[in-house]
């Protein structure tokens, strides 16, 4: 691995000028990406940043982007933790969103296809759906942490089965909850101009950030991610930490699923959260987090999520349909990952030296087992 000597790195950093400090900051690249995408948007639609108030709520492209990005922000936060701790991604989040929405709507409707009043209390439905998604997370966590299965293979199980389970819960139908109270989470609170999903996103970000700031969670997660065997040797239950991050990831996916289903006041098992796992992974990568685990930046992932939502908006504005979006996103993922890769970085640093150890690059999980 072409890791730089830490001492050299420090001395270089101490001697760096102000501009270099800015350039070296870990949020520089994510912010640059966001700025580029926003600039492209402004070039396309000059009134992109214009915000107006109609009927007591905020209107405008930028509000729409921030509003639509809410689920993605919530997912990206969970994904960041799971990635940092386990060095792999949870690709089942989209399917877990569908399960959560299905559970919630099915309890609210009491088995009917379309209802105009709650059959069961909202609190019960929401907590059941969050519990179900946390359970999905626990299942993933068990496979990853206890049985030491590669995260993406372990979550592949729910990735495929999840939507099937959601279909079974809703009996293959799209359950509609035509109650205004249910639409609140995906809409507006009367008298407040800001869309409610934004509050969910901010709330999640603040709570997780506080947890990281005032508990040892960040230290544990990073220790488990950097070197789980070493973390275990210093007395840290790496497996438990990884397990907890997957439960959190599942729980947050459930929350995102609830918001998404509230937006369309229904549980559409086939479409809720479709392709969102890709966006969430992309957000984490765009945020400057290494997908192989270790140190992470929550703010980076949130910025990444907004970048992707702006990108989607741009692409939609260019008349690219939803089915075609993955092409561009996949290209973006490959570009970012290539820039992040050790081999590429080593090549940039010193193209002449043939990197002998780099001839095989071990992914971290492979070397551990």
């Amino acid at each position: 691995m072409s890791k730089q000597n830490p001492d050299k790195d420090l001395s270089a950093r101490a001697g760096a000028s102000g501009i270099q400090k800015v350039l070296r900051h870990r949020l520089f690249f994510p912010l640059l990406c966001l700025a580029l995408v926003l600039l492209a948007n402004v070039a396309k639609t000059p009134n992109f940043f214009a915000v107006s108030i109609n009927n007591g709520v905020l209107y405008g492209y930028i509000v729409d982007v921030v509003n639509r990005a809410s689920e993605l922000v919530i997912l990206a936060i969970g994904m960041t933790l799971a990635t940092a701790a386990s060095g792999g991604q949870d690709i089942s989040v989209g399917a877990v969103m569908a399960v959560s929405a299905a559970v919630c709507c099915q309890i609210l409707s009491g088995g009917e296809v379309s209802v105009t009043s709650f059959q069961n209390p909202l609190v019960l439905a929401v907590s059941a759906s969050l519990a179900a998604s946390a359970l999905c997370g626990a299942f993933n966590g068990f496979l990853v942490a206890r049985l030491r299965i590669q995260p993406m293979v372990a979550t592949l199980i729910l990735f495929t089965a999840g939507r099937g389970v959601a279909q079974l819960i809703t009996a293959g139908q799209i359950t509609y909850i035509r109650v205004s109270a249910y639409k609140t989470a995906g809409g507006y609170i009367p008298g407040v101009p800001i869309p409610v999903p934004i509050f969910f996103a901010i709330g999640t970000a603040v709570i997780v950030a506080l947890l990281l700031r005032f508990t040892a969670l960040r230290l544990f997660v990073e220790a488990a991610g950097v070197n789980s065997s070493a973390a275990r040797l210093v007395g840290l239950g790496s497996a438990r930490v990884v397990f907890v991050t997957y439960v959190i990831c599942g729980f947050l996916a459930g929350l995102a699923g609830f918001v998404a289903s509230s937006r369309i006041y229904s549980a559409d098992a086939n479409n809720i959260g479709l392709y969102l796992e890709m966006d969430a992974i992309l957000a984490v990568a765009l945020g400057g987090n290494i997908l192989g685990g270790g140190r992470f930046s929550l703010a980076g992932s949130v910025i990444g999520a907004f970048t992707i939502q702006s990108l989607s908006t741009t692409l939609y504005a260019m008349n690219i349909s939803a089915d075609q979006l993955p092409v561009y996103k996949a290209a973006a993922v490959i570009a970012i990952i290539t820039l992040q890769s050790d081999v590429f970085r080593g090549f940039i640093r010193n193209p002449r030296i043939k990197n002998i150890t780099g001839s095989i690059v071990f992914s971290k999980k492979e070397t551990q087992t």
């Binding site: 792999g88 991604q89 690709i91 496979l143 049985l147 030491r148 299965i149 590669q150 993406m152 293979v153 372990a154 592949l156 199980i157 729910l158 990735f159 495929t160 089965a161 939507r163 099937g164 389970v165 279909q167 079974l168 293959g172 392709y275 890709m278 992974i281 997908l291 192989g292 349909s321 089915d323 075609q324 979006l325 993955p326 092409v327 561009y328 996103k329 996949a330 290209a331 993922v333 490959i334 990952i337 290539t338 890769s341 050790d342 081999v343 590429f344 780099g358 001839s359 095989i360 690059v361 071990f362 992914s363 492979e366 087992t369």
Partner: protein, 347 residues
């Protein structure tokens, strides 16, 4: 390539996994024969239908097995299949291209995916899952870029290929007492030929042995003087190529191209390999096991379709449950191996 004579096998755990798979298949099929006797489950044609419907999956899973033996994974295969079907359909129907041109473009697409993904994985050292996840989304998106509408193939040569029945010397007599030959399509023969070629490649060639060595322990393989990067690269190229070929076989079966085609096929292929005894951590795998994995998948779907009242979602759920069971089984076996430190991993 030089053929290496087969050495005495020492496969305690791997044979165990393979036997579990074969036993499971036999049990499931027998159960189907007993429960659905009057729906023709016991007819030989029913068994052959497993091969007919899953010919493409056999080819694709073989490619995936090769990649998984090196410890990698390729989940782009389903999208490659969809893209190949769409491109073939588009070329033949909208541009009047010949079947041969469609075949070569199909194989070219698979090869291109394999080359690109192989390069990113082995030469840039990016996690295979991320690379092929991107490939999966790219392929699916490109399918939509080519055409959002379904294109059915009406090319005469193509349909002649697709509907060319090969009668077998055995069969059943129907209710009217007329003898009916059991039949297969050319796709089945293609799939079986590929299966045999992959078995020979894995078990009897230098390249194949290198794949196992790398999957078992990359570092030791490097120290032994194997070219780890190039071998892994060619594993992905092979997988991509077989995905392209499998995609064309799939196309022969469906005779159409549309965006949602072959969704989840990557999952079927991965689970077939895993159920067939390929270890996710690499170093262990057998195409024969993979074949039985595919047959188990086929049996589950035909059991559920014959049963009639269960929704098609159950196929995926049952398959996921089986996959989960086998992953756990593997995990137990590998952790036991780690504890005893027997070190004799791999066939």
């Amino acid at each position: 390539m030089r053929i290496i004579p087969l050495q005495r096998k020492n496969l305690s755990d791997t044979t165990f996994l393979l036997l579990v798979t074969i036993g499971l298949f036999a049990a499931m099929y027998a159960a189907g024969m007993i429960i659905f006797t009057n729906q023709g489950f016991a007819k030989p044609q029913m068994f052959l239908n497993l091969f007919i419907t899953n010919a493409s999956l056999i080819v694709i899973s073989c490619g995936l097995t090769v990649v998984m033996i090196t410890g990698g994974i390729d989940i782009s295969v389903g999208s490659v299949t969809a893209l190949v079907c769409m491109v073939a359909a588009y070329m033949m129907e909208k541009q009047g291209a010949s079947v041969y041109a469609a075949v070569s473009v199909s194989l070219g697409i698979g090869l291109a995916f394999g080359l690109a993904q192989g390069f990113l994985v082995s030469y840039l050292g990016i996690q295979p899952f991320i690379v092929t996840l991107a490939g999966m989304f790219f392929g699916r998106g490109m399918t939509a870029v080519i055409s959002k509408e379904m294109i059915s193939i009406k090319n005469e040569v193509f349909l002649a290929w697709a509907n060319y029945k090969i009668d077998l010397p055995f069969g059943t007599t129907n209710k009217k007492g007329v003898f009916q030959h059991a039949y297969i399509y050319p796709t089945v023969i293609a799939a079986l030929v590929i299966l045999i070629l992959v078995i020979i490649l894995l078990k009897r060639t230098k390249f194949g042995r290198a794949l196992y060595a790398i999957g078992g322990n990359q570092q030791s393989a490097l120290m032994m003087g194997l070219n780890v990067r190039r071998t892994r690269f060619f594993a992905y190229v092979l997988s991509g190529f077989l995905a392209g070929l499998g995609g064309f076989l799939f196309c022969l079966n469906s005779a159409a191209g549309f965006v949602e085609q072959a969704r989840g096929l990557e999952m079927d292929a991965v689970s077939s390999s895993v159920i067939g005894g390929t270890l996710l951590s690499g170093g262990v795998g057998n195409p024969i096991g993979t074949l039985f994995g595919v047959l188990i998948k086929g049996t589950i779907s035909s059991l559920i379709t014959t049963q009639g009242s269960l929704s098609s979602w159950w196929v995926r759920i049952a398959l996921s449950a089986l996959l989960c069971f086998f992953i756990v089984l593997q995990s137990v076996i590998t952790s036991r191996k780690r504890k005893t430190k027997s070190g004799s991993s791999g066939p």
